[in-house]
Symmetry: none
Subunit: 252 residues, 2 copies
């Protein structure tokens, strides 16, 4: 990697290892939590754990790809000739991003038909968003290809944000009082953490970062965003499920 | 490693393997224990097991990194060229240290709002403490960089000690009698075992140890401190959860 220091290489390396440990631990936490909530919320926690489990798998792959792509020789980072696979993130997101929205819908406990229709429209929009971003990312250049696919990907993104605020706003007001603030927080964490991804995607067009610094910012940044959007968001889903179970059992 | 004997290398090697076995066993013990306590304490034991699970993962990584970094040729320790990754400990602590404080808060069973606010302030202070120590450790030198970051890291450390004694002191007095002594002991074990870390961090400034002896003391010392702060502390959390469950069920 041109201009990457050993310190930058190791920071990314450690960030990926941190991701592996966090997602493995989060997965177990959510699945253990299934026994502590009412049966209406068990699926939400199953899915929450699936998201972090899928992320755990991809962070193992990303870590190994990073490890194989570079060596440190006499304190200098040298490419081994094996390329670092940037596509693992897209494969991960294609699975996890629709599931993240489904988690939120499941824990809100809407009517059966609303649950199915919102899961299909929001989940479908999320999958479309990732698919449209992919050709721009793998093209590798900072050019019109990246710009056009990125712009197309923003259409389903904005549709999701709109639906979360307008379409689900009324359903959030119907949540039991003890959980309403948390559901609103979970919705806001989703939107705020997701905004980080287009910022990173379009950053090369406006920021003069180059080589090592750019890679470090992107990889550590995506890792922090993934942990926020999947593990921390999952903790909120868990807390909502616990609070709503308690409210339904009649003790707060 | 300059001046490290084969005996020292092997002692560290065996200490890491001891850590792997201890943390794996402790994790299973805490998770089996979940079925023996009231539901209010299940989350505390889930988290206790997560801490040792995360430590288990990192000790496997640390062990492999140590194994890859040195060879013994004709009874002499020689570096292979792959560097030993000192950062794994920081990655581990960044996750486990906030969780350790959350374990203690969960088993005390405070009110819902106290649990959330104490978890956020103490957990946040713990994460900040680790993040501030990292730049000093990876800089590698025994100089003002290590000293300044270490000193900054002590600010959240002292805040945590203060909160554990003053902020939680009153809550400890409210614990049921059969568990009060154990909760106090768990608090004291936390503070005492944690004091070992700044001692090791600042030791190079005052002790004339060099090369192999210094590395051996640091690595074996951190391992003993980790086992005390995570596995032995976890056994106390388990005992508190069992005693409090018994007290609540009306037989002591």
């Amino acid at each position: 990697m041109e201009g990457m220091t050993a310190g930058q290489y190791e920071l990314v390396y450690n960030a990926f290892s941190f991701g592996i440990a966090t997602f493995a631990a989060a997965t177990l936490f959510f699945w253990f939590g299934r026994s502590q909530v009412n049966k209406h919320y068990k699926t939400a926690l199953t899915v929450t754990g699936l998201v972090t489990f899928i992320a755990f798998y991809h962070y193992v792959r990303i870590f190994e790809s990073w490890d194989a792509a570079y060596d440190i020789v006499d304190g200098v980072v040298v490419a081994t000739g094996t390329s670092f696979n940037v596509a693992y993130r897209y494969v991960d997101w294609l699975l996890t991003v629709p599931l993240l929205l489904i988690e939120l819908i499941l824990v809100m406990r809407l009517t059966q038909s609303e649950t199915v229709s919102k899961s299909l429209t929001l989940g479908g929009a999320a999958a479309l968003m990732i698919l449209l971003g992919y050709p721009g990312e793998v093209s590798g250049g900072i050019d019109s290809t990246r710009l056009i696919w990125g712009a197309l990907s923003m259409i389903p993104f904005l549709y999701i944000v709109y639906t979360l605020y307008v379409g689900l706003g009324e359903a959030i007001n119907r949540q039991p009082e003890s959980a309403r603030g948390l559901v609103r927080l979970a919705r806001n964490v989703t939107v705020l953490s997701w905004f980080f991804y287009p910022v990173v995607y379009f950053a090369p067009f406006v920021l003069p970062l180059s080589g090592g610094m750019s890679t470090t910012v992107i990889e550590v940044g995506y890792t922090v965003a993934d942990i926020t959007a999947k593990a921390l968001f999952g903790v909120l889903i868990y807390l909502i499920a616990v609070r709503k179970s308690e409210a339904e059992d009649g003790h707060s």
